[in-house]
Symmetry: C2
Subunit: 541 residues, 2 copies
Amino acid sequence: MKNFKIALAQFSPHIGNIEKNTLKMIEQANQAKAEKADIIIFPELSTIGYPAEDLLLRASVKARTQNAFAELAQVKDIVMVFGFVHHTEDGQRLNSAAVMKDGEVLGIYNKQNLPNYSVFDEKRYFNEGHQHLVFEYLEHKFGVLICEDIWNINTVQQLAQLNVDSILVLNASPYEVGKPQHRVATMAALAKQFRINLMYTNQVGGQDDLIFDGSSFALDREGQLIFRLDSFQEQLGYAEFDAEPASFKIQAAKPELETMAEIYQGLVMATRDYVQRSGFPGVILGLSGGIDSALTLAIAVDALGADKVQAVMMPYTYTAQISIEDAAEQAKNLGVAFGVAEIHNVVNSFMQTLYPFFGNAPADATEENLQARSRGMLLMALSNKFGNLVLSTGNKSELAVGYCTLYGDMVGGFAVLKDVYKTIVFELAKYRNSISETPVIPERVITRPPSAELRPDQKDQDSLPAYDVLDAILYAYIEEDLSQNEIIARGFDAKVVEKVIRLVDTNEYKRKQGVIGPRISSRAFSRERRYPIVNGWKAGI
Amino acid sequence: MKNFKIALAQFSPHIGNIEKNTLKMIEQANQAKAEKADIIIFPELSTIGYPAEDLLLRASVKARTQNAFAELAQVKDIVMVFGFVHHTEDGQRLNSAAVMKDGEVLGIYNKQNLPNYSVFDEKRYFNEGHQHLVFEYLEHKFGVLICEDIWNINTVQQLAQLNVDSILVLNASPYEVGKPQHRVATMAALAKQFRINLMYTNQVGGQDDLIFDGSSFALDREGQLIFRLDSFQEQLGYAEFDAEPASFKIQAAKPELETMAEIYQGLVMATRDYVQRSGFPGVILGLSGGIDSALTLAIAVDALGADKVQAVMMPYTYTAQISIEDAAEQAKNLGVAFGVAEIHNVVNSFMQTLYPFFGNAPADATEENLQARSRGMLLMALSNKFGNLVLSTGNKSELAVGYCTLYGDMVGGFAVLKDVYKTIVFELAKYRNSISETPVIPERVITRPPSAELRPDQKDQDSLPAYDVLDAILYAYIEEDLSQNEIIARGFDAKVVEKVIRLVDTNEYKRKQGVIGPRISSRAFSRERRYPIVNGWKAGI
């Protein structure tokens, strides 16, 4: 055996822009060459990015991919293993990996296991491959797998039986809490079981509602970590193989991120990528003095810089003085542009206009919604006039039970906390304060009881169970798919469970019109939880 | 052979409500028995309805389906062939049909071809079946297929080779323009080719964005139509087989619907089913004096009755006097409640509140959006206060190019014309006027040039190409999936094509938050055209 060096390109593609992605892949290959790498591995479908959804169905993907191959063929003296959309002569479309050296294609591998559950729809786009690919280079035998393949023990076993030394795995594996650790643990067990080195290269970057964390890593045949790349950043990593003693050099391991740091960084990256790739100069959000908008503001500033963020406080009769103070304080702490726009005149003009219809009908949610919608419209007007994207500030607990106003606080282009339960919002706020010298979120915002401030002395807990109870029920119903009876059997109050589930079920129409936001859980709304709006399902069993 | 009679139950399920659907199936079976039918055939997945989406993943579907079987087992003296979710002992979930007589299951067929393209996601939910089912009854050999199966010539051929006399096909085949005719033509050719009678039972009813037209039919082995059921209505139909001369009785054929009648009736049914099954007492919509809201109003009245429909005119400075007159006239023609709410005060209060931010910045789309959003908020407030569902009135052409305001004219619970191009809106309006003694849509609404009336003397055609050109380009890009170059090659102006495609591509974010509306085309937005919001795809090739 010879010494050699493998580069793992933790690559952030621009979805659908095959031309741009190809140029970037060439740059990274040249960079790896400068570091004396012999092989570079890119993520799954690196030319078009993942998931390209119905762009994959457009006819010119074929011609564009051929152009990409022609460009990549110019790269010399390094073996490139990259993902691409493979159109075969008999009309099949496959999710494939090419092994290319000096312009020559040494082999093509077609993904065998196509996930079609959770957030994945690969059977909509691809045919399945049926053959393994093994290639020898530098006296070392390499096998290639793509993402889902490595999770199928039969597929791995078949490849291992071909006496492969190392498996190169191209991935586009979306983030969820705990996933980076879960991948390493599972792969380490596999590497050890089959005594195979395993190079796991993952896509990085935010793509609409999906976060790709990267967190690429390399394992040796003992299941030892050779190295792990940082999460949520584009990076190149290198695994060095020494012919003597025929093993990879173990690199000093960086400490793992703790959970709140991991989620926080994921939300920051998702927000940055969405805003920048959509071409917005910055963002604007409504700052209420509450914890959701406070955390959203902190994330926005960390993602884009204070100069790209504008905050607006929109007080009304029910807004507490401390809300105004806390909002102003936080804006000042973070150094963002801050404005105040009272909504009394707008709300009054609506009420006057509606008087001929409403007469003296008693006040109800209508008047509360008018406040929320007046704020939403003001934010949208500021966005339209100056070009900043509106960040929506609602959390997963609210969205689950419909404790939010369609066209009101739900307006915006990106909902940073959409998949973050309220109990986690509190944790994240504390975490963010813990990492800077002075707290960026005023302490009082974290400690005071949450309120939508849409009627006098309103508290969230007047209408909803305490958030720790609510979130536990929601988690059981949404993430764990338990039935009403099963959740009650866990010891929750039956009436509370029934109410929460009824709220979740009847608010699907709001979520269907909701803005996208980054997925951090194992069951986010929309792409992953596809419920009909009109449905007669009865909770219970 | 013996004489016998087969009932086709063109059944409208309540999605997810297995208990209710089962009771209704029993009723229909008893009704068919009263008509001396020997066999009754229900549509695909009739117990749970189609598409139940992720409700299919809930664990209790299994127990609920077992209960349904127990209920259905009470029906005696008629063979029932119905669709259900089949959970096998080895943990598979299948899309299946049961043949049941006097409580005994005579056979089960598992769907072999699972569509996973267009609006279909069956591979997300089901495993594939691998065996045919043939059963003999009344000296006649029957085969069973489910929907997609009948479109796979290999599957049909294999079944035909088992010497089957008649194929019973259980369907949930969604409507699109021309589909009813296409089904009959294709099936007639198959029946004739294989010399097999073919009983095609289709689901009927609106389900969120999908219209199931029913249009069930029976064909004899010559490919002759035995009978066809009406589209867009629940019905039972009967095919009678005479042992002498061993053939089905051909019934007098009703005339086919012409295209505009077909679309119109489909939209009426979709609107009725959405509103009623969501439990709303009625609907409210903004009537502008333009053709989109005029047609939407006519459809709403035909769907629900005038007493369930409320129209509101919301004029502003740029609203023409004839718009107000035409709106009032139409409301009067149709006998719906009609109110007027001027939006000057609301718009002014917004402009005043925004003045500290806007200063003397020149007017742009922001001010136009404020008008549309003031109207949207008023409609939502009226909806919140009195409970009527807001119907959104935008058409497919607008939605495609983003000529509509998010949270403005896009608000609502159901967008009746969402999949209807503007050129078809005109045709439908003329059609609707043609079927009543006096026109329900004032002639001037149809003949005047379309305008959003958001600035002085504005016409749609100031910003957009003429609608016949626009719609032709949109159709080529969306329905036909052609590239920019291919569309230009058809003879359209290159600059116009580039602009239209850019508008379609950059307005995905609006559509992602758009309300659902009934699908009538072969490529509706959302469920069927899944594009990433952030994407770097460049039009051109």
